[in-house]
Amino acid sequence: MSKARPGLLLLALFALVALPALTGKFYVELVAKIMIMAVFAMSLDLLVGVTGLVSLGHAAFFGLSGYMLVLAAPDKYAAVSLWTSLPLAVAASALLALVIGALALRTRGVYFIMVTLAFSQMVYFVFHDTRVAGGSDGTYLYTKPQTNIGSWATFDLANSTHFYYAMLVLLILSLAFLRILLASRFGHALRGIRSNEQRMRALGFNTYAYKLAAFTIAGAIAGLAGYFSAVQFGFVNPEMLSWHQSANVLLMVILGGMGNLIGAIVGAFALVLTQDLFSSLTKHWLLLMGGFVIAAVMLLPHGLTGGGLAWRNRLRGARGG
């Protein structure tokens, strides 16, 4: 695991805080979107990088939460309260993760990949084939959630600068929560499972319960990200929980480097910005994206943060003679 350098992190944080003062609405909204994806990617890193569970169905929890926000509104013009709809949406994602995890964790390795993919696809079909929320067309959310506490007007989610800072706070809180989790006994047990599950079982750990807890927590945090993604775009459709979304977030994790959370954030920035660049170049940008993905897997197996580390070590080794 790479040691995060506090200086660099502080600099990045400073840049993120200052960004709205320096640029226009376009970049503020783009970076807000990236920060949401970063939270989503960190939640997957808890599974893939920390616990060693490669899930290809993580978008199900992201998307379900977005749908819950839409379904929570009595009609699509009525604003719901953030403080009631957010816990509801996150709880729904956590519950779904608990159920899917309970079944999928009966398998391991390549089975786990296929089973998580298949179950998330089942959720996709629920929203795609039934008329629950607009079927394959998806549905609009015309009003942003209310954030008032009593009569106190806190912040306005419809204001892109307010929304940006709310997402920055969300990102920092999620990172802090996951850091504390990883430093705890629970986090060490998860790392132990990744390196040798047999040994952890022999030591008396109920590894199934640990993995299920990790899967559920990751699902809940993915739900957190999905909720705010739906808020930002004012729109949900089945693509939000498609397996392309799951593959996308997995790409962020590996592109940035697994297991250290910061890598997931770096990966989210790198992937979304690359997609943005490619899609501005040509209509057939997915061709470039495919090549980029293949090149990234081939050339940077440990991701941007991990690769940098290996490179630094090599330099240091060469200098030391």
Binding site: R106, A118, M298
Partner: protein
């Protein structure tokens, strides 16, 4: 449901199941023998269907398009193995999933560049365009029976190659102990290349023969891929006979589900998978050796 309708649905179930088997057998072999998880497998099914449509137009004959298409699929398989897939044998599943996902993006965009994003249909070849009359109003198309026959023929051929030939012996030995086979002077890399190309050709063949009875559309590969993953999970990874049983099971459940529970038929397949996971998490026919 009267007897004739039941019979028609039964035959449809068998035909769909056998077609699924053709695609999933390649998937399960790639994993069982080479340890590769290939999420781009559905793309080869799609490429096969588009090739059949495009070649049949160019050559003006479905029967010429078929061998030409298979030859092209084998070529694509060989090139991919030699350029990318061979670098994945020692990587973990995560990298295999992502690299083959990159391939999906490339295949989809290439398809869009070459053939556009429209839905196409291919006419059933003249030779097999007849129907068996069952009653005065009901009949069953010969072409669908022919699909089932081709799939069964390929399945038999596959079993024969794997169980009875020298190549099959190398494949089985390579799956069990790679180093040992290599030390005996067998070029396992070549064997893997052949297996990969064969798996791709199987998926392509399935797409080609399915083209006349199903629409040819951009998302068709992904749709098949996910169902094939379910087939492989239920059948047990690496098991060809498991894939056959699971594919037929899913063929029946999907076909009859559409008749009896049309609103929920999309979910039945996954519910079946959930039940199997609770009952036998390793699948029905898990091969311990692979």
């Amino acid at each position: 449901m009267d007897l004739h309708t039941f019979l028609i649905q039964l035959l449809n179930g068998v035909q769909y199941g056998l077609l699924l088997f053709l695609v999933s057998s390649g998937l399960t072999l790639l994993f069982g023998i080479m340890g590769i998880i290939n999420v781009a497998h559905g793309s080869f099914y799609m490429v096969g269907a588009y090739l059949a449509w495009s070649l049949a137009g160019m050559l003006d004959s479905f029967w010429l398009a078929l061998p030409a298409g298979i030859a092209l699929m084998v070529l694509i398989g060989l090139l991919l193995e030699a350029s990318l897939i061979k670098r994945l044998y020692d990587r973990d599943h995560l990298h295999q999933v992502l690299l083959t996902y990159g391939l999906i993006l490339m295949f989809e965009e290439t398809r869009s560049l070459l053939w556009g994003d429209d839905v196409h249909g291919l006419q059933i070849p003249q030779l097999l365009s007849a129907s068996f009359p069952l009653t005065e109003t009901l009949s069953y198309p010969v072409y669908r029976l022919w699909i089932s026959a081709v799939c069964l023929g390929v399945a038999a051929l596959m079993v024969w190659v794997i169980q009875k030939t020298r190549l099959g012996m190398m494949i089985r030995a390579g799956a069990a102990n790679r180093e040992m086979v290599e030390s005996l002077g067998i070029d396992i890399r070549l064997v893997f290349r052949v297996v990969f190309a064969a798996g791709i050709a199987l998926a392509g063949l399935a797409g080609m023969i399915a083209a006349p009875v199903s629409a040819i559309f951009p998302g068709m590969g992904n749709q098949v891929l996910i169902v094939c993953f379910v087939v492989v999970v239920i059948g047990g990874i690496g098991s060809v006979s498991g894939a056959l049983v699971a594919a037929l099971l899913i063929g029946f459940i999907d076909t009859f589900g559409k008749v009896f529970l049309p609103d929920y038929s999309g979910m039945l397949v996954y519910l079946l998978m959930a039940v199997i996971l609770v009952w036998r998490p390793e699948g029905l026919f898990r091969q311990r050796a692979a």
